[in-house]
Symmetry: C2
Subunit: 323 residues, 2 copies
Amino acid sequence: MDIARFYNLLENKLSFMITSHVSPDGDSIGSVLALTLALLKNEKKAVPVIKDDIPRKYKFLPGTELIEKDISETFDVIIVLDCGDIERLGFDRQLKEYGPIVVNIDHHKSNSYFGDLNLVDTTASSVGEMIYRLLDGRVELDYDIALNLYTSIITDTGSIKYSNTTPLSIRILADLVDKGVRPDYVSRQVFEMRSPASIKLLKSVLSTLEISADGKVATLYITQEMLKTANADEDDTDGMINYAREIEGVEVAAIFRETDDSVIKVGLRSNEWVDVSMIAAKFNGGGHPRAAGCQVKLPLKEAREIVLKAINHAMEDSGERRN
Amino acid sequence: MDIARFYNLLENKLSFMITSHVSPDGDSIGSVLALTLALLKNEKKAVPVIKDDIPRKYKFLPGTELIEKDISETFDVIIVLDCGDIERLGFDRQLKEYGPIVVNIDHHKSNSYFGDLNLVDTTASSVGEMIYRLLDGRVELDYDIALNLYTSIITDTGSIKYSNTTPLSIRILADLVDKGVRPDYVSRQVFEMRSPASIKLLKSVLSTLEISADGKVATLYITQEMLKTANADEDDTDGMINYAREIEGVEVAAIFRETDDSVIKVGLRSNEWVDVSMIAAKFNGGGHPRAAGCQVKLPLKEAREIVLKAINHAMEDSGERRN
């Protein structure tokens, strides 16, 4: 069984690279750091590698200073977290060039089982929850590990607001608070650190709201010009899609973000019945049924048109299956 | 002991009025309805009374249709929930005219112990949590009761984001999810039902943002004119104070809302160290250290000046004590 083999590796191997997807989020960073710190505690060599910038708001997590962006060493074991598709790791070389054994720990339905060992649990709220379940009782979960795991679970469940929230994930949060995590402190770092620039940006983004499909689809967009005027950066755009998703009657929300290299990043969310990971997949993106994303290499206007068409198509399809 | 006397009353008395404060919120409505439904289940007469309108977003709670605004009957027992001060109930007559025994169940530090029986627990996140602890194991908590209690706890802890969140309150939420409550459903009703009008209002409210005291105080305001232009109502203003509270470096946030009867309603929040209930108390208001409110009978401009002065005063005082 893969779990027993996983424990075997943790016990008998000496060096580990722990990595996750580009565009890192609270779950990927928190679970990478929690597992890294647990391995270091057990006197293993462990290096966290994420091939992208760490968003400002996650810099409070213990261990972020250990994260490497580039790596030339090799390891006994490569552990990949929260990543359904090996392409999303952003490595130039084959993963096997960094080490002979690849462990894949994930909760995405779309996971391609790329590992030598695959621990995939699509019922887990987050990979942080999976790491808690794997480590609890085997490693002493100290405050630093607990803080990383709490942040993983709280970001992937939207502070227990999303449909992936289970009684088990909530109870794990309580256990982590027992270990000294302060819920208000984490929430303030992760959900509530607004800059005056982000308030200015929010005002202009809300002006782009468009509602279509009888009120069931809501879209927003962010241009480079808007970012410049508000003196805001990519980090400040985080979570803005929720203003579209939260409108009464809306099923699918999309946000279109102009990047500086003529690609539009598209965020997709749904509330009840449309599987937005299927829409993202049409543009080589991915994610979960209620939260997904993709990139489109077109000017903003065309990108919006083509994605909106795919959304309407998916709504009709889901609507038919729903009846 | 008051708890034993409380169970004695539930057992032996026949008719109950359950009431709470005006400007009802998720905790007051949810706990009033949960206790009402539990009493009805035990074949008692139970009437929930709230002398104010129930906000639109709480209409999904099972039992809201039972809530009375005016009452002329008398009861064996009057149970007052989530109310530190008997004046905030909004009754014209003395409470004793409705029944001979008054039970006071609350979690406010400022509670005046006005009951014949006082169950006051300032460590409880919410009165919903207290009702859960009182009823669990004695009444079968069915889905309708669980939904009311979950909503109580989730609103008063801001979905486990506020500093009153404890491991116990989180575990109770998990127990309530076990009883069938869907976290995403409740969150959508309580936190996420935005109307297009509220988005329009939000844009104009964000334009009123003012930051003072070296970035530690942030204020917003809402005029009747702004409500009219956005075609929004009082319900749409809910939660807007958080945009001020969540700005990096801000300790105290205030929102000033013009009502149609020349009174300014003031909402106050703090993040770490200022007790805003003390500021509210200066204007005959009240609340908790991190969330409080009051009313000022002055034009908007003067109301902002006088409250801002009190905030600055409180900041200096707290700052001194803090050093």
